[in-house]
Symmetry: C2
């Protein structure tokens, strides 16, 4: 086991689009040059959005390793055991139901997404049950009050 | 709708560890300074690994927007409709079954992961059914031969 540090690697990522929120709808606006990558996405009901938690792209937020989740009163957990936006690389992963894909406009309407208007999008991945759906998922006692499935209304802010 | 380009944003990400593969096992080796973030992860059965497809971090691979998946003969799809490692930001997302978490050693044994030995890890997220498990997921006809769930043996290389 070797002790490495961050100096050994830094990778560069770019926005491929932005999240658009209004009072009544959520959509993903894809930059002109990436629109072709949307081809056939309309054959899927759900997609996984990787987005950049830009408000937490700072040294302080990125150095937080422990949290006290609001849903687990009095319990300290590591950020890798949470979905917190405070993490060494603030990449968030949200699964969304697709309402419509307009490849020409570069617009995807989704049911909901837990990110602010203007948040940069890093990647989109079609939801593949063989990759993403776990039949027997065990979770800790402090999460058992939550639904067993992504709610129909999605995850909002 | 504005036409943006990559010049408006570049974000920096770092490895938080590396994937270790041997003939008989797969594990995630977490760097010393990030070990505390593993706290309580052992209460979950599954985790989502975000890894950097370093072999595809080059201009050519990152400019590929269309693919012809081997499982969809004759069909051209956009990379956002696939799980291909060729994408504008080569961040892969793999859900894994956890066999054991050793916080002190910074080691997580997993059933399988579809990445080579030495692949950089960007983030780990506990698998939350409320976020990640979709009850009624619709997929295209060219994927219907695949299992409806993550296989018990995971996804290998």
């Amino acid at each position: 086991m070797t002790d490495r540090n961050q100096s050994e690697g830094v990778y560069h990522i770019y926005p491929i689009g932005y999240i658009r929120q209004s009072d009544s709808s959520s959509s993903l606006e894809i930059l002109e040059q990436f629109k072709p990558a949307l081809k056939q996405l309309d054959h899927f009901s759900h997609l996984i959005v990787l987005w950049w938690a830009d408000k937490h792209d700072n040294e302080k937020s990125r150095s937080i390793l422990h949290t006290e989740p609001t849903y687990a009163k009095g319990r300290v957990t590591g950020v890798f055991a949470t979905r917190s936006e405070y993490r060494p690389n603030p990449i968030a992963v949200t699964t969304c139901k697709i309402l419509g894909v307009n490849e020409e406009e570069g617009l995807i309407d989704v049911v909901n997404i837990d990110a602010f208007d203007g948040t940069p999008i890093l990647d989109l991945k079609a939801y593949f049950p063989v990759c993403d759906r776990v039949k027997d998922a065990r979770i800790p006692g402090w999460l058992t009050d939550w639904p067993d499935w992504l709610p129909e209304g999605g995850l909002g802010i």
